[in-house]
Symmetry: C2
């Protein structure tokens, strides 16, 4: 089980390797949120999402002999790029197993970061079997996206930075909204804040129809989404919280806030206009909650984590078309 | 004349007031630039450009009695918003004189930051006379956009951060490219680097037809642009370097690099895709130089300052349409 000492140890391993991302603000957004709003711009992290932190943390924690053999991961998204880059910068091999219908650009980006990409047919092949075959003689270590104690610890370093940055801005009591898929980032941040900024309470934010964490926190046990696809917020539509993340979430976080896709797109445009950052739909869920669900928030200040910026150009253009000021 | 002690003093006044903007990078951009490329994301500064630094520096340096009376500035762009917000956060009045044909959104944004906006008719009125009339009994202090020693010192704090951040990344010898209008930022950064990172040489970057600084550095005297409008890079089409900035530029900077509007739009899209930041055309000139004029650069590493992100939605969409990867 990840603990705060592991988060602090991960921060030491990540020092000088991860970007220290800024905590941004704008009086225009404060006005919409009706309170002071601070945005942790984790979309500016290497590879465009917080995932690099967890990947680096996990890889750097491996015994040297294991690490030298390389790592393997399943992902067509942000975790893939985080693992690929962290492996490349460690000088080790990475194999990323992706569905063959993943967008070409994501396959190419992951390859460009030095990964060996292995494609499988979602309908006819089992990805675990594909991975087992690839890994038959290689001894690659599997890096799971959230149910890995070192990954959670790495994501938690975001929380250590938030604690410091909030204090320097005089923020001591604030709901801290985090876009939540499997809960790796959310639980890691919660561990960091529990010790370093106990007035900051973590609240997971999720898109409609994919509110497994919100429901799990209400029922006290792991709930599962009915739908598994069909959301613009593809980065955070994991079917359920993880077995390692849920106990932490359950102890420290909540209640969750559920936002619509429309609100995420609108939040993306406001982030473009007022913060000058690029956020993907799933990475804008927390910001959308802060901006459009202020009635659910009781603190004078609020912090939202913008978790990623890997958005397709066409979706970004669609958002710009529909929202935002006209000149 | 601004000196390094003034830059260091400005940094103290700005501590906790300005954003410390990150120095970003991407292996994808390194590949295009054919060297390590670091981008100082000053578009993430308050009000979306570095101008907040100079405005805060100048206002905070005023004798208290003068400051209490308020400040005045001429600008329809980034300087207007920087002055308005810096004044508001000092709790003092600001008057911004703008042409009546300035985009409504810029007028509204400046007003929303607490400024009193006074419009004048470009064809029939003289802005200095308009300002004199507004200021008849008020004792407002004029904050010039670059020919003000404290403004230059404030912009120079960007250079102090670059020096520290570059050192922490092991960068000791690198051309440092800065988008250049009147030269306030460029000269301020040059003063900071002269002392704190002497291996980083500042080179001004300008759009075609507005290369007054590049030509001035070649001839050794202040040259003037023939055109005064008609560029997408509106933030940096000042007619000539300033009387206070040129001596510093001439002593420390160059040679300049001239880029096309096309290259700026392309650089904006690459910043969107790879760094997740929003950059305006004039704020992308240095990045465009780093990416597309590598043959002019001799150092193994290069630093580019992305100076602002206040781009109209329609221009951003146009850039996305024309450049960038397709999915």
């Amino acid at each position: 089980m990840t603990n705060i000492a592991m988060v602090e140890a991960a921060a030491k391993r990540l020092a000088g390797k991860a970007q220290r991302t800024p905590l941004l603000s704008s009086p225009f957004l404060d006005k919409i949120a009706r309170r002071r709003l601070f945005v942790k711009a984790e979309c500016l992290q290497h590879t465009g999402s917080f995932k690099f932190r967890g990947a680096w943390s996990a890889i750097s924690a491996l015994p040297e002999e294991d690490r030298a053999k390389g790592v393997i991961a399943f992902s067509s998204g942000n975790h893939a790029q985080g693992v690929a880059m962290a492996a490349q910068r460690h000088g080790i091999a990475s194999v990323i197993i992706m569905p063959s219908d993943a967008p070409t650009i994501k396959i190419e980006n992951t390859r460009a970061l030095g990964a060996e990409v292995v494609l499988y047919d979602r309908d006819r092949e089992n990805r675990a079997e594909v991975a087992a075959q690839v890994n038959m003689d290689r001894g690659l270590t599997l890096i799971k996206p959230f149910d890995n104690a070192y990954v959670i610890a790495g994501q938690g370093t975001t929380g250590l930075e938030i604690a410091e940055q909030a204090r320097s801005k005089g923020v001591e009591d604030a709901d801290t909204l985090v876009c939540c898929g499997g809960g790796g980032l959310t639980s890691g941040i919660a561990l960091a804040l529990e010790k370093h900024a106990p007035g900051l309470r973590v609240r997971p934010c999720e898109p409609e129809h994919f509110d497994d964490v919100t429901r799990s926190l209400l029922s006290g046990r792991i709930e599962v989404n009915k739908r598994t696809s069909g959301s613009l917020c593809d980065a955070i539509i994991t079917p359920s919280p993880g077995e390692m993340t849920f106990p932490i979430l359950n102890r420290l976080c909540g209640p969750g806030i559920v936002v619509s896709e429309e609100e995420c797109l609108h939040a993306m445009v406001l982030a473009f206009e007022r913060l000058k950052i690029v956020v993907e739909p799933g990475g804008a869920a927390a910001l959308a909650a802060a901006l459009f669900h202020g009635d659910r928030i009781k603190t004078d200040d609020v912090i939202a984590v913008a978790t990623g910026g890997n958005v397709d150009k066409s979706i970004f253009q669609q958002a710009l078309q529909r929202f935002g000021e006209t000149e």
